[in-house]
Subunit: 352 residues, 2 copies
Amino acid sequence: MPKKNTLFPNQNRAVTIADVAKAAGVSVPTVSRILNDKEYVAEETRQRVHEAIRTLGYTPHTQARRLRGGISKTLALHHPIESPHDLSNVIETSYFTGIAEAASEKEYFINFLVSQLTPESLLNMYRSSQIDGIILLQVRMDDWRVNLLRENNYPFVMIGRCADLNGLTFIDLDFETAMLQAFDHLVKLGHRNIAFLTYPRSWRKMEIGPAMRSLDGYTIAQSKYGFPSSYREIGLNSVEEGFEGTLDLLHENPELTAIITVSHLTAAGSIKALATRGRNVPQDCSVMSIGFGGDFASVVTPSLTTLEWSPYEISYQAAILMTEKLTQKDLPPQQILVAPGLVVRESTKAVT
Amino acid sequence: MPKKNTLFPNQNRAVTIADVAKAAGVSVPTVSRILNDKEYVAEETRQRVHEAIRTLGYTPHTQARRLRGGISKTLALHHPIESPHDLSNVIETSYFTGIAEAASEKEYFINFLVSQLTPESLLNMYRSSQIDGIILLQVRMDDWRVNLLRENNYPFVMIGRCADLNGLTFIDLDFETAMLQAFDHLVKLGHRNIAFLTYPRSWRKMEIGPAMRSLDGYTIAQSKYGFPSSYREIGLNSVEEGFEGTLDLLHENPELTAIITVSHLTAAGSIKALATRGRNVPQDCSVMSIGFGGDFASVVTPSLTTLEWSPYEISYQAAILMTEKLTQKDLPPQQILVAPGLVVRESTKAVT
DNA sequence: GTGATTTCTGATAACGTTATCAGAAATCGT
DNA sequence: ACGATTTCTGATAACGTTATCAGAAATCAC
């Protein structure tokens, strides 16, 4: 026997559009029209209805709204993790807050889809107007979600990008430019032998964008300057992997004077590894890392010179792109590449 | 003119319960009964309907379900940020993933409420069954959300806790125990003068639990051991604040041999400040910090000895508590205090 | 074999909202 | 001053689902 508030049973029902209509002395559809900012409503009526909405404390019932097949004011966010158990280790979780906030501002609900998503269930979410649009994370070069949604003309936005970008809207980290920025910074400091610790080879095999493009960027930069190339594909989730990877690099290329990494954690490992070989950062070797901003870089000793993106800004903008796409159907596709910002701290220094 | 898939117009409608019913040769309510595991359905019918569900690729329309007033399979998460613009700086965002994952496992949707929440709109979400339950973050000692939901007998779970806990379910960080654990560790190492860098005074004024209980815990521990007391209430969001706070502590209490902080960032500041006064960590002074786990502690030099909670575990469990409360109406209130785990790294050492 | 129970199924009516349509009132053009 | 247009409003039906009820079929008790 579920307990109910029996003292004020009438208070246990939500205020509906019908209550508002009765209070304002108008019909139900009129209230609906006013709520949806439709044309053809007398100013005087609008006032009266808004007054009733305020006094009754009415809030629209989003689910009922969706039912009729209109816009549902709901966005989904999808990350194709194989097993949801890995979620806590996924770097893209830092995108959550920006999306949540933009959605809130634009009065959208946001559903984080972490369960397994089948093509059928994805289409069904649109068809039954459970969602208006979806923001895709971890987009592969050839991604079934993109293909499916493109074929069916359902609106979506990517954080990341795939191979065929024709007509698609996305925002992505500009890793190629980032690599050039890193080289610019280091070359100005006189470095001529720059090694690279990048994403694991498995990521590249899985056609994950940053893994492919960061290595591409490194290769391009190397050939632009004509420097020797040495890189290592390693895991990003521990100081140890950076440590080991750096030892390998030093063994293979003892002449290196700078190391670029794609994770602040592995950069910290690099610094420790260099120290064990008697090379202090930044006097004997420079280290810089490319990645999301945060407090991480400033607590490492020496603090890390970085090229950093704000996951908040990027995800916020992605959600805004999504809402704009929904409200302006004829908007041309927006394709945004974000270059990171250079933050010079202590870990890079001119060669002496 | 919105583009529609005109080649297969029939494919643009979602498969509904009615389609399933027709395919299986039964009525709509029968399918509904089977979907909701109601009693009184012939085994043979159940089979046939499930077969139809599979072949048609039917997925239930969650929103329509809610409309009729049943369970909505949706949880909300609420953090009472004053201005949503602060969201990216809110430490509780690390609770997102655990909740998202537990919700996913139990097949709940999760809505992050970041917009301003009024008492009216909160009640309305329950009344109109837009949500089944809510997980409250940043619970104050006397919290209007708790009072309101308690009065109206709506299910909720807190991460944190308020003053009157009678009948309420929560999971919270056990800061009192954490302080005793910290003292235990340091006292065993021979420390007798232990200073404390804690939450800003304003948080305590706002009756935010950890701010109140960590200072209480410090006081209790001090009086238990009979040590002199010196603490400082500072901001937690930068290395600098830890730096300044530590200089103040050193000025006021030059004899201190250990510092406890409630943020890894400020601990890093402490280490830097001690260095400027010629005191190296851990030889001349020990530093330990209490907070969420992560990679932070291991990149600081020296790496930080910590007492750490897993935000993932805590939030995961909170969401599980919520779903259990919803499925078992007669479940007694669960009240869980989680003590942090001690991770000894390099920043603490026996006094010499 | 009769009546009483149990098991199963389907009509029907809601839930709160919006789209469609048609009609009423106000405004306009001449 | 008249019809034509524009502005405004309300009936009605529908969205996909579940609760309620009542009736049919099967089982049970004696």
